[in-house]
């Protein structure tokens, strides 16, 4: 791997940028590997990166049916934060945020992390109390979190509607200053480049069609490019986790829903942090290109279509105009959907499975992007050592049998 630097940029500029090497190879699949990772999104690539970097396991294949980062990795609203209520969630998301903070250097790839602060608004007394409870819980867990008064919010976001006759008055907000946004494609590409340089084979346009087992033990996968053997197989397929797990006869407590997002036409810099509101139901930030990046709600039914219903978008834009009346004449340029895999307790599953050698990482629901490096880090540990790391031990598949759920519904500052 050739290092990216100001010197390599200058050198390649002299050569009219014809000398750049490909960021990763496109090898044919070998007949066998030590580990096969199904799914070439952010989480799968992070798993491959940390397997190679932290555990020295490099005879690894990442198998992707489409192209790298073409699923939820390229469809999210790029928000990163770790201000979750419960200890287990705060620990794993904070680990992820810490990894994000060093990721550009670690990968030698600019992920454009911008820690511009994430605001979660409160619109009634109950919201304020919940917010303060969460802020206190965050502080106890070492997660930076602070309360802002309406005056402080107005100073930070001057365009927000603070009129006293507002339908949903703003009574306060939590602020995580270390939260922010990053470039989602760059994370997929940077992780892929790093994993590839350490020997990982990234195989795109290759769909897994079956999981091979022998007496309760995994032996490999059947794909559209032939059989590939491996003693360890990891499923990291987000919205399609139930489909892939079903190939190994495993039922999951996961439902897949379309979650929509959209961007507006680009405008000059107007909002310099991330604003999220549960009650009015909107989350907004501004991209470097100037587009407003808006997140909408989850459609109310199971679906794999990567598009949702228009009334969800309508509700989203009404919410935006409620909080920011000056956006009412802004035009929407693009909208799309991603398939989020949600668990009954709104927490992920990063776990071993009843099939020996088969591991699963799914159920991140609407929190997948912010957890990308942390998820890969703990999952690589789980695969390499065949046991969960303390950070992901609570997020096992058995919790639905034992009842030790981690109920983040409404507790995690999620906007839906």
């Amino acid at each position: 791997m050739k290092k990216y630097s100001i010197f390599s940029l200058a050198r390649n500029a002299l050569g009219f940028h014809q000398g750049w090497e490909q960021a990763w190879r496109s090898p044919d699949p070998k007949p066998a590997y030590d580990v096969i990772i199904i799914g070439g999104g952010g989480h799968g690539l992070a798993t491959a990166h940390y397997l190679a970097k932290e555990h020295g396991i490099t005879n690894v294949a990442v198998i992707e049916k489409g192209w790298l980062g073409g699923g939820n990795t390229g469809r999210n609203t790029t928000i990163i934060r770790s201000n979750y209520l419960w200890d287990e969630s705060a620990a794993i998301y904070e680990k992820s945020l810490k990894l994000y903070e060093g990721l550009s250097q670690e990968l030698n790839y600019n992920i454009m992390l911008s820690q511009r602060g994430v605001l979660n608004l409160a619109h009634n007394l109950h919201d304020v109390r919940e917010l303060q409870r969460r802020i206190n819980a965050n502080k106890l867990n070492g997660v930076d979190s602070e309360f802002l008064t309406p005056a402080q919010i107005k100073e930070m976001v001057p365009i927000i509607n603070m009129e006293p006759n507002a339908r949903f008055p703003i009574l306060g907000a939590s602020l995580q200053r270390r939260g922010g946004v990053a470039r989602h494609d760059a994370i997929a590409w940077g992780l892929a480049r790093s994993a590839d340089s350490r020997g990982v084979d990234i195989i795109q346009q290759c769909e897994v069609t079956g999981i091979l087992r022998d007496g309760g033990k995994v032996t490999g996968v059947e794909t559209t490019r032939g059989t590939i053997k491996a003693p360890k197989v990891a499923i990291v397929t987000a919205g399609h986790c139930s489909v892939v797990a079903d190939m190994a006869g495993i039922r999951l407590p996961v439902s897949s829903f379309p979650l929509q997002a959209m961007v507006s036409e680009p405008v000059k810099p107007i909002i310099n942090c991330v604003v999220m509101s549960n009650a009015v139901h909107v989350y907004v930030s501004q991209s470097d290109k100037g587009e407003l990046v808006l997140g909408a709600g989850v459609d109310g039914y199971t679906g794999y279509t990567q598009r949702g219903s228009l009334h969800v978008v309508e509700h989203q834009l009404a919410s935006l105009c409620e909080l920011f009346p000056l956006f009412s004449r802004l035009r929407i340029m693009r909208m799309w959907g991603g398939i989020v895999d949600t668990c009954p307790d709104a927490s992920p599953i990063v776990s071993k499975t009843p099939v020996e050698g088969l591991y699963i990482n799914c159920g991140w629901g609407t929190g997948g992007f912010k957890s990308t490096p942390g998820s890969g880090w703990v999952f690589a540990h789980t695969i390499a050592r065949d046991e969960a790391h303390p950070l992901n031990a609570p997020f096992n598949l058995d919790r639905f049998t034992s009842g030790a759920l981690i109920d983040e519904h409404g507790a995690a500052a999620v906007a839906h």
């Binding site: 139930s242 489909v243 039922r251 996961v254 439902s255 897949s256 279509t305 219903s309 009334h311 639905f400």
Partner: protein
Amino acid sequence: MLLIPCPWCGEREEAEFHNGGEAHIERPKNPDKLNDEEWADYLFMTSNTKGVYLERWVHDHGCRRWFNVARNTATNAIITVYKMGQKPPKGVR
């Protein structure tokens, strides 16, 4: 926006309805005989099928009645609707 054919009211827009999750999940007949795995399966596990999925909907902004829908989750095509208590029509999956 889905156009859902309510068995009583005819085709109406999705916004009038509410989805009630997977259909044909029966409450166990002998709840005190179930072990933890069986409870977990009843309470939490879903088929989450990509393809024809049998689910319940309620026309809550209309006639307020529940019914079953067979919908292809990969295309959103509604294959058929049938009343509560009925078994899915043969060949629907």
